[in-house]
């Protein structure tokens, strides 16, 4: 059995209770990659990949934990942290109401889940952003959870894996406090690095703005899922600024690897084995 297949069968066995979120409702769904109509159950069984073209559908942070970690090994931390509304922010909808609605819709308290677990027997700290909660954007809670995770990884001398799915970057609704989270998390990563920590950053679709411009780019190793949208400025903003057509693969994982900012593009079924293998090179 090839490495990839081995990983695949291993992963498939852990994903039987696939979370329904991230994949549109209904028995059949349309693939954004090849536009084929595919059986949803089949997509879920294949870790959220299109059976026709291998397109990576978005998956939830909880589903990602199930896919990556050894069964029932995840111990969630800092779940007592909850967002509030320091700016008393309101656009068309008050931020307070938006938070409640997002919590109800996603079943999450915030866009970040963090904790400790085992990956093929290796202990590690894992933190993830879930792109479905206010676009996975980073406000105070996300910044705090990540910083605490990094500080714990430093203290416990454990490898650190952060999986980013953040189209929203730094969260507007918490204003300057969100921007400052970028500095806070990056400073914690500096200390972790200087203490000898090993950090793998996994970029998934999408990872943009203030998340891309802070922790997500700072991995000792940066991995990306195929064809994820990754960048600083949103493609629409770039297009409006320079007023020319963008290259077809602009801001994809492959584009970033070509330009030197991603170590490896890794498809989802191989991710678990790949991370475990990398950890073995740098962590004894």
């Amino acid at each position: 059995m090839s490495t990839a297949n081995q990983a695949k069968s291993e992963m498939a066995s852990t994903s039987h209770s696939a979370n329904k979120r991230g994949v549109p409702e209904g028995l059949w769904i349309r693939c954004d990659g090849c536009e084929a109509t595919v059986y949803k159950k089949q997509v879920e069984q294949q870790l959220g990949l299109c059976p026709e073209c291998g397109h990576h559908f978005k998956i939830s942070a909880n589903e990602r934990i199930r896919q990556l970690l050894d069964e029932d090994s995840f111990e969630e931390w800092f779940s007592e942290l909850a967002p509030c509304d320091p700016l008393n922010f309101a656009d068309k909808k008050p931020y307070k109401d938006r938070l409640v609605a997002e919590q109800k819709r996603t079943g999450l308290k915030e866009a970040c889940i963090a904790g400790r677990g085992y990956m093929r027997g290796r202990p590690l700290i894992l933190a993830l952003t879930d792109s479905s909660f206010i676009m996975g954007s980073m406000g105070s809670v996300v910044g705090e959870k990540l910083t605490r995770s990094i500080e714990q990884a430093t203290e416990q001398k454990l490898p650190l894996v952060i999986v980013s799915g953040s189209g929203g970057g730094a969260r507007m609704h918490e204003g300057i406090l969100s921007l400052m989270q970028m500095g806070k998390v990056s400073a914690a990563l500096a200390r972790y690095r200087d203490a000898g920590g090993f950090f793998i950053s996994v970029l998934t679709n999408p990872t943009m703005g203030g998340v891309a411009a802070s922790f997500a780019s700072l991995g000792d190793i940066v991995l990306a899922e195929p064809k994820a949208l990754i960048g600083f400025a949103g493609p629409r903003v770039v297009k409006e600024t320079i007023k020319i057509e963008l290259p077809e693969d602009f801001q994809t994982s492959e584009f970033l690897m070509e330009h030197g900012f991603v170590d490896r593009v890794v498809s989802r079924p191989e991710l678990r084995l790949e991370i475990a293998r990398l950890i073995d090179y740098c962590v004894s």
């Binding site: 007592e80 203030g210 411009a213 600083f232």
Partner: protein
């Protein structure tokens, strides 16, 4: 000097000033004319104070972007005894949107890093209206690293609408360059002072914004996103930029209230564009004091202090912990 660019809320002031000028130019003014001149001067001051004390956040944005507002190159002339510009990032080029060099402030040697938006059309085109590329952030971090090794304090002036959103910028790693700076600036064991002199536009501003003393000029703003960008996303139309400006709480006063900045540097009545020299004098006083204070911090405490400063940013609730956490 007649102002070249008048903001909408400055109009009543400028009209009165023009009337005053006419009166002042009258040869042999009568006692009653002299009386009117005096009254008018008082009235202009009163009016300016009243208008500027109640500026709406969107008005503040307009002051921060005023074409006559002093910029980094103006301050270099007004503040420093000497400036030795250092070019280039040793990898790609010399970004004109971020200027770096050695400078002397009242005889004290420092490394200066400043974002420049451009005063003439030529300057503005050269530096992309103050929007830096990855090579700008790389140049800044390289010079700062060097300055740290030679024990020079660092002064960063922030003035940018945001990092440049373009194909080349993305190809050359805009996100990585900013991220790298955030991480490295937290480790440089030398005093770092950051001043937002005009626009503090999101990650592009923060990319040279990690420091020990963070100040914002009175009519500058510092924000996670531009009011136009925020309005476009959350209100679905740039038209609502004034609403976004109010919601984002990014004026100097709000930032101080939120505990994000250490100091507001006052500007002359009517804004920095009214009097460059006086603005620079006030700014210089603040810089000298901050330098002195930071140089008194023991070397082995400086980085901890900086770490804690950023560590404490954020507002959240900590609900009663479940028995199974930690």
């Amino acid at each position: 000097m007649a102002p070249t660019h008048v903001l909408p809320f400055e109009k009543p002031i400028v009209e009165l000033e023009q009337q005053l000028e006419k009166l002042e130019n009258q040869p042999d003014p009568s006692p009653s004319t002299r009386e009117s001149i005096r009254n008018m001067r008082v009235e202009i001051n009163r009016m300016r104070r009243e208008i500027f004390e109640t500026l709406d956040p969107w008005d503040v944005v307009q002051v921060s972007r005023h074409p006559d507002r002093p910029q980094t190159l103006d301050y270099i002339e007004l503040l420093f005894d000497e400036f030795v510009e250092l070019h280039g990032d040793r990898a790609f080029g010399d970004d004109r949107a971020i200027l770096t060099g050695f400078a002397k402030l009242e005889g004290q040697k420092v490394l200066f890093v400043g974002q420049h938006k451009g005063r003439t059309l030529k300057e503005r085109e050269e530096c992309f209206y103050g929007c830096a590329h990855p090579e700008g952030y790389r140049k800044a971090i390289n010079k700062m690293e060097m300055a740290t090794r030679f024990g020079l304090p660092i002064i960063c002036f922030i003035d940018t609408p945001g990092a440049y959103p373009g194909i080349g910028a993305e190809e050359r790693g805009q996100a990585y360059s900013i991220a790298h700076n955030l991480r490295e600036m937290s480790t440089f064991n030398t005093p770092i002072i950051c001043v937002v002199i005009g626009e503090g536009g999101s990650g592009g501003a923060l990319g040279i914004g990690i420091g020990d003393h963070i100040c914002v000029m009175e009519y500058a703003y510092y924000s996670v996103i531009s009011p136009e960008g925020c309005a476009g996303i959350l209100w679905k139309s740039v038209q609502h930029k004034d609403k976004a400006a109010r919601a984002l709480k990014f004026t100097s006063k709000s930032l101080l209230e939120l505990g994000v900045i250490d100091e507001i540097i006052p500007e002359p009545l009517g804004g920095a564009h009214r009097d460059h020299w006086q603005t620079a004098t006030m700014l210089k006083g603040s810089l000298l004091k901050a330098l002195k204070d930071l140089q008194a911090v023991p070397k082995d405490q400086l980085l901890d202090r900086r770490y804690q400063k950023f560590r404490n940013y954020g507002v959240f609730e900590e609900q009663v912990a479940n028995a199974d956490t930690e």
